[in-house]
Each structure stands twice: as structure tokens, then as C-alpha cells.
Symmetry: C2
């Protein structure tokens, strides 16, 4: 990339509003405005559209303060996960007091599980409302990446919208990063709805199809509140795309079989219903397999546009996708950014309160497909906690979609850690999606369609269809004994044993009840 392109003078040219041009400054100067104890609403959703430089400068200042023996932490609110340059650096500097509503950074995760960072794990559609309600207190700063600023001072969002509208509306002061890496051609792809309100002033959200636009292509911000604009040049996190492995492909095959059966029975139209897909390799494999499937034209109303979804658009299988963020690999983003014009009418990026809004998800009848950590034999799903105590990432938008979906599917390999962990357990060690919200479980072993089944029937189906053969007998044994001796046969459990698989894993590194010593 030639200097003339990445140079800050060139990037500064993206600030087309004259008054705001005067706010241009360095990341160091901007970070210096943020005082200890501040709450900072940052942009960023699944590794895209997060501020690239000010968080690092802030982390450096925090580190220096700590070296001087001074306290310095901030509260970090975002859309969802960000990247090492944000969560990683701030967590490494012990600079985060409170983190919400979602994160997936390994350094942050370790500190959260060590009790050093307070972490609020919140339904992503609820965040904006809860902040507006006021019980998280005042928002001191918004720190938001944009692709540019128009002549009128409107902000062109970058590769995610997340909670940016809310942060800009509510923060006392605003710091913008104008990222020259983000193409100016993103202009016009976003739909920022300005109709949300607190009750009793709320009106219907008039989206009846994924492509519907109900807002503006720009974010608004009171120019008086903008205290710094920092030119940056840096790519999004752009997680490399992993080609689907055998297990993911088997799961994808089962998902396609299931959808095909539903179409055949007349319970889904041939073009299905708007897809929602959680982030990850398994769901990416499902998306890839849809290219070979018979379903079209597809639509998506989801959180994140991954490589797989972009491929579907390219081949014409997917008509239109609505999301709040892109989350692409390096190669996919290069191809996408090179031909943005081709996608302008087929991608809508919205605020996450709208991309995940229960009202819209329910109305559109999304087909929700989310990953999980474990499910129990009665269909309760744990999406967040390892062995009950340690948080992995967070619930994210899975609850927004699973509760309101037309069909709610959870997918996972049947075992983890080389077989020492079963994803199907007697009782989930933590519950994020209750038996009431889990319609279908799919592992590489098979499909358990739980709709219309009572708990005892669900157990039988999950054990026989989804559990790994290495664990099937032990699960069946648990269920049989529970059914014989539990005080209630609606959801029979043996409370002394229900969590023993997890306890055994913690004690011995494997859930297997009778593992022969390796010889």
C-alpha cells in the first residue's frame, strides 16, 4: 500500500465537514482525554468496525499509570467481540473494570475467569434498551470507528454498526476513528433506524422482509460532542476462514436433510425463511453446503455476514442478507471490498438492536442456527460456561434468535477435547436456552427433532440420535435409572449424579465414567 494512500493526510480527506476537520488529532492525543473510571462505548462487532488505535494508546497510558502506582481502569461497552488491539491490549494492561455485553478475547477471558474483570453477559438485543433505561449509569465516551464524515457532518459507518447509534446518542463526548482501510464505498450500505424510543413512546418496527430499509445510511452525532477525530489505517480482525472439516460437513449434511424434510412436509417454503447463523466453523460449513442445496432464493436476517454467506450471495443462492456486521476472512474481505457496488442492494447493515430485535425475528420467522457448548438429555442448552463456572464467550445474540425463531436449531460436534468431553450430558452445568426454546439438536451423529416431544421422549431421542456412541450407554443408563427412581417422572433426574460427569472431568480430565487406563 503506497504511503500516499495510507498517509493520514489522505485519510483526513475523508472528513468532508469543515468544522469537524479541526478536531483531527493523533490517537495519543485522543486517548489522553479519557480519564480513569470512564465508561467508554466502543464500536466493534465480531472483530469488525472496532477502533484500531485509541484503545492501544489508552492501554499504554493505563500501563504507565499502573507503573507509577496509580489506579486506572475503564468500563468497556461494545457491540460484541472486538480484537487483540482492543480487548487484548486493554485486558493485558489490567485496564478493564467492567466489560459488556460480549467478548471472545483469550486474555480477557482468562482475566474474567480469574475474577479480575467484571463481565456482564447480556442478550445483544437488550443492550441499547438497558443503557437507555439508565441503570448502567452515565456513558462518558463514545469511541467509534467510521469510514468517513460527510459534508453535513453525518458519519459513514464502517464494517459494523453494533451499538454505535446508542453510544453516539448517549455519550457526553465522542472520539471518532476514521479508518482509511475501510472503503468509502461502504456508504449507503447501512440502515440506521432512529425510531427506537423508551416506552410508552415505542412504535412498531416496520420491517416485513430482510431487505426493508427503515432508517438512514448514516449515523448522526451532535458535532459539539465530538472532541477528537483520529485518522487510522488498519484491517479488521478478519479471522482466517477454515475449510470445513469432516465433522462440520456431517453436521451441515444433517441440517440440510432436516430443512429438506421440512420443505417436503410443507412446513417451510422452498426458499426457506430468513436464515440466522451464529458465527463459527460449523455454521460456516452449513452455509457452504447451502450452495449445493435445492433451497432458493434464500434470504438472511442475522447478526453477522461470514464468508459462507458472501459466497451464497455471489452465486445467487442468497438474495439478500441483513446483519449488523461483516466478519470475513482476509481473502473474502479483499474480494468483497473490490466489488462493493455489486453488493450494495443485497446487504443491509443495521444497529444490533434491530438486527436482533425480538419483534422482527418473530415476525420474519427466522430459522435460527446456533452453536452450543453442551445440551442435556432434556434439551436444555449451555452456550456460555465450561463446567458450570468458567465463561467461554457469552450468550451473544443466540437468545434473541432462539426464543423468537420459527425453528430454533442448535449444532455441535458430539464430543470435544479429543473425546474426553461429551456435548450431551445428563444435566447442563449452566443453562442459557431452556427446554422451551430448543427445537432441534444436531450433531455429526444425527438430528433430534424435539418439537412436540415431552421431556422423557426428548431424552430418548437425544441419546439415540445426537450422543456420541462412546457416551450413549452411560447416558441411557443415567436416564433409565432416573426414570426408575426419581421422585418425578416428568423430567427424571438423579440429583446426586446429575453433574457428576462435569465433576469427573474437572477431577480426572475426562467425563468417561469407566475409562480404562491407557496401556
Amino acid at each position: 500500500m503506497p504511503d500516499s494512500v495510507v498517509g493520514s493526510a489522505h485519510i483526513a480527506g475523508r472528513v468532508r465537514n469543515k468544522a469537524l476537520k479541526r478536531k483531527l488529532c493523533s490517537a495519543e492525543e485522543a486517548a489522553a482525554l479519557i480519564a480513569p473510571g470512564a465508561s467508554v462505548g466502543m464500536s466493534g462487532f465480531t472483530g469488525s468496525g472496532y477502533p484500531k488505535e485509541v484503545p492501544g494508546e489508552l492501554a499504554r497510558r493505563i500501563g504507565e499509570a499502573h507503573e507509577r502506582g496509580q489506579d486506572f481502569t475503564v468500563s468497556v461497552w461494545t457491540g460484541a467481540s472486538t480484537a487483540p488491539e482492543l480487548d487484548g491490549l486493554l485486558a493485558s494492561a489490567d485496564g478493564i473494570e467492567l466489560r459488556m455485553p460480549y467478548q471472545s478475547d483469550p486474555v480477557s477471558r482468562a482475566k474474567i475467569n480469574a475474577g479480575a474483570i467484571d463481565y456482564l453477559d447480556v442478550h445483544l438485543s437488550h443492550v441499547a434498551q438497558m443503557v437507555w433505561e439508565g441503570f448502567f449509569g452515565k456513558l462518558d465516551f463514545a469511541l467509534v470507528e467510521v469510514a468517513g464524515v460527510t459534508e453535513d457532518g453525518e458519519l459513514i459507518p464502517s464494517s459494523s454498526v453494533g451499538n454505535n447509534k446508542t453510544w453516539l446518542d448517549l455519550a457526553d463526548r465522542v472520539i471518532l476513528e476514521v479508518n482509511g482501510w475501510q472503503p468509502e464505498g461502504l456508504e449507503g450500505m447501512h440502515d440506521v433506524y432512529y425510531g427506537t424510543a423508551l416506552p410508552p413512546h415505542r412504535r412498531p418496527i416496520e420491517i416485513v422482509a430482510p431487505a426493508d430499509r427503515i432508517g438512514a445510511p448514516y449515523l448522526r452525532c451532535d458535532p459539539e460532542k465530538i472532541v477528537a477525530i483520529v485518522p487510522t489505517y488498519g484491517p479488521d480482525r478478519n479471522t482466517p476462514f477454515k475449510a470445513p472439516d469432516v465433522i462440520s460437513n456431517r453436521i451441515a449434511g444433517h441440517v440440510l436433510d432436516f430443512l429438506g424434510q421440512e420443505v417436503k412436509r410443507g412446513r417451510l417454503p422452498r426458499g426457506l425463511l430468513p436464515l440466522q447463523s451464529g458465527v463459527g466453523n460449523v455454521t460456516n460449513a452449513v452455509l457452504a453446503s447451502l450452495n449445493d442445496g435445492p433451497f432458493r432464493p434464500l434470504t438472511a436476517y442475522t447478526e453477522v455476514i461470514q464468508d459462507g454467506m458472501l459466497d451464497l450471495i455471489k452465486t445467487g443462492t442468497l438474495d439478500v442478507a441483513s446483519a449488523t456486521a461483516l466478519s470475513l476472512s482476509d481473502s473474502a474481505v479483499a474480494a468483497f471490498y473490490a466489488r462493493l457496488g455489486d453488493y450494495r442492494d443485497r446487504i443491509v447493515l443495521r444497529s444490533q438492536e434491530i438486527s436482533n430485535h425480538p419483534e422482527v425475528v418473530r415476525r420474519l420467522g427466522c430459522l435460527a442456527m446456533n452453536g452450543m457448548i453442551e445440551a442435556d438429555i432434556y434439551g436444555n442448552v449451555n452456550s456460555t460456561h465450561i463446567m458450570g463456572s468458567k465463561i467461554q464467550n457469552g450468550i451473544g445474540g443466540s437468545g434473541d434468535f432462539a426464543r423468537n425463531a420459527y425453528v430454533s436449531i442448535f449444532v455441535s460436534p458430539s464430543v470435544a477435547k479429543g473425546g474426553s468431553i461429551s456435548s450431551i450430558v445428563p444435566m447442563a452445568s449452566h443453562v442459557d436456552h431452556t427446554e422451551h426454546d430448543v427445537h432441534v439438536l444436531i450433531t455429526e451423529q444425527g438430528i433430534a427433532d424435539l418439537r412436540g416431544l415431552v421431556p422423557r421422549q426428548r431424552a430418548q431421542r437425544i441419546i439415540s440420535q445426537c450422543a456420541h456412541p462412546d457416551y450413549r450407554d452411560a447416558l441411557q443408563d443415567y436416564f433409565d435409572r432416573a426414570l426408575a427412581t426419581a421422585p418425578g417422572k416428568h423430567t427424571p433426574h438423579l440429583l446426586d449424579e446429575a453433574l457428576s460427569w462435569h465433576a469427573r472431568y474437572l477431577a480426572h480430565g475426562a467425563m468417561q465414567p469407566h475409562r480404562a487406563p491407557e496401556s
Copy 2:
């Protein structure tokens, strides 16, 4: 009641449509139409508006068949709970194969927990959609109580609407009970929305205030499908109103304090937001106490109108209430039915898919207040299961409201069974409302406002504010040891011990860890 009033000839006069008059018959004749294996969608919600005679006749036929050694069961789908004349008689006759989506009958409960009745416990707002989706199979019969039939053949609903629209739309054949006990003056109080559809044909539900009417005052039914109309005369279940006890009054006091604080902090308007209140003595006590509170004018957008809510309307504290059912005591119903005209503009009875619709609950910003069986120290709530295995009633509408509420409050006495059960436990033995959906816990001990708190902070607040003093030290001890030794400090648990309180209760009849023998 003079014979001339209760006589079937007089009641038959309520069938004003000439063609339908010819379908009049006895309950015995109507019940004879229902064959073994049939699925029957019945009216009824919290003991009101259920069919009074045909279920009993059906139970009698089933009993006779069983005596002859013949199999005879049916599937019973309703709005919610009914009464001994329906659930009680059919369960006693071993006549129920599958029951959904909610029940609270003691005979049924015992048979469900014995594994003799299959029971599907479903979010009440999801039922209609799931039946329309088609994976419960065909609905053979609708058996619906009405207050009358108009000249045009439209049906005047009685004291609940529930899922009646869906049953009438989808059933192959329809049996009506015209109940002379239900006043004809109910005409005009209902609002039956005919705009629901399957995706992708759904439109916004245009309710922006609890009083909004978006449908018709009548239920529609293809007259060709109506195979029997049975005149009946019988009161609803009408559970006697219990005067609030000391514990309920203390809980109510805390709820009022909490609401007062929220108003003072500017987080709620002076007239609050539309109230949703679960059924029960505690919530009735809260409603009663609102009459003395400073909040007005109140509104309600809820499932059920109880005595307490009617009192609020009478005193003018409550402006308008929207629900799907009445659930009144004998004395309240007499007073209410005597002066129906006074209430016509202030009560709207809707289908339960609308009274509980996530879209509307979220838009209006309901203040949800529901009872619970237990909560754990991290704020996960169990609404349905006793000691993990035995179902009590069901989740009902609590999930519809808690997930989408502006503030979601759960209330319970801190102990049950004379103190041998703590309602605050280390880990819930079943989870219906996850940590993500529980904002405030209130017992007679105090208020735990969990909003904005991470799990460790929640635990500390719940133990200190809500737990009974007899259990507080043991809970604190569990939490302290978990915090010290659990492999993750985000939600620290000791998996060997997490359910030991429940196991101890099952083994010894008390959760207390160190109860001294009674001497």
C-alpha cells in the same frame, strides 16, 4: 336461580343464528362424536371459559370404554389451566394421552409426574404458532365455550379467549358450549385479532397502548364445521380470594418500594408502565397494595385479570387492563358481572398469542412480575419443577413477559414447607428463566436489584437481601468456598455440592445442612 333462567330452552335462545340452532344437542350427544385418539383443542385459561359439560361426558365414555377393556384416550390442548370438571375428570378417567400447553390440576399433576400423562410445557405465546406450523399434527376437534352466537353466526367469547381462535380455525369439527352463566353483556369486551399469519406473510401487530383494539369482538367459525352446540349453565372455577398474609404483604411492600425508587430516579414514569402480573396470592397482594400507592393512572397488559386488578379499576387507580382471561373469585365475579357496562371500555380480552406476544410486550415495556419456585444465587429462576424432576404447573406466560419486559421481577417467599425448603439455593434444580432474563428478585426479606451486576455481585446481593436468615450462612459459605476453589470465578460453583440441598431435601425432608434433631 329460577328454572326458567337456567333452563336449556332459555340458554338455547342465545343461539341467534337460525341454521346453527339446528345443531343444538346434549352434552352426551356431543361427547359421543369424539373418537379415541382424537386431538381436542379446548377453551379455558386459568379456570375461566373452559367447557363445563362435554369434557365430563367424554370422561364418562372413556371410563366405560376402559371398563370394557378398550383403549380410549384423547389429546387435550387448551389455553392454559382449566378446572376439575375438565382436567380433573379426564385425568381421573385416565383419558389424557397428551396435555398441553399448561395445567395446574392436582390429579393431572400426579399422573404427569407418575409418567402416565405426556405433558408439553410451552411458552403460552408460542402455542398458536406451533400448532399452525403443523408439527403437533392435525386438530380433530375444537371444544369451545361461548356466551352466545349472533344472528350472523359469529361467536361471542365467554370469560377467556385463550387459543380459541386457533382451535376454531384449524379443527376439522367444532363443538360449542353456550354457557348461560356467562352474561351476554360480555359482548363487545373481546378483541380477536385475525391478522396473525405464518411467515413470510406476517405484518406488524399495531398495538401501541394496552387499550388499543385491532380485531373483532367475535370469534369466527365456518358453520359447516360446527357439529354440535350444547347449552350449559355453570360457573367458572372462581378460586376463592385469599386475603394477603403477612409474608405476601411484606413482599408487596418491597415491590412498591422498588417501583417508587425507580420513579424517583426517573427510570419509570409516575403511572409506571403496563403491568403484567402472574397469578397467585403474592401478586394479588401486590395489586391490592397498589391501591394505596402513589402510582397512577396505571395500565395493565397481562394474561389474567384477578380480583386485585378489578379493585384497581373500580377505584380508578387502573385505567385499563388488557388480558386474555378473567380469573376471579365468586364474590368478585358476581359484582363484576352485575355491572359489566361500567367495565366495557376498560377491559380488553384478547387471544393469548396477542396478550403474551413478545412484539407487544417488548414495545409496551411491560413491568413483569411473576412468582417462582426457586432462584439460585446467580439469579437463574426455576418456575416449574420441584427438586428438578417433578413438574408443578408449567412456565405459562412467565417467559413471554420476563424476556421482553422493561423490568422483570420475580417474587417468592424466601422459604417453603415451614422452612424446610429455601427458595434461594446454590444452583437451581431446573432453569426456566436464565440469569439473562431476571432483573429483580424480591422475597419478604428484601429486594435484590440484579441489573448491571456480574454473577459474583449478584450472588452477594441475593444472599444478603433475599435469602432467609436460616439459610444465609450456608449460602454464603457455599459461595465463599466456590469463589475460592472453583475453576472459574465468573460463576463459581462446586459441582459436587451444587444440588446437594435438593438431594438432602429428598432424602431427609429438609434442605438444612446441619439441622439439629428435634428433641
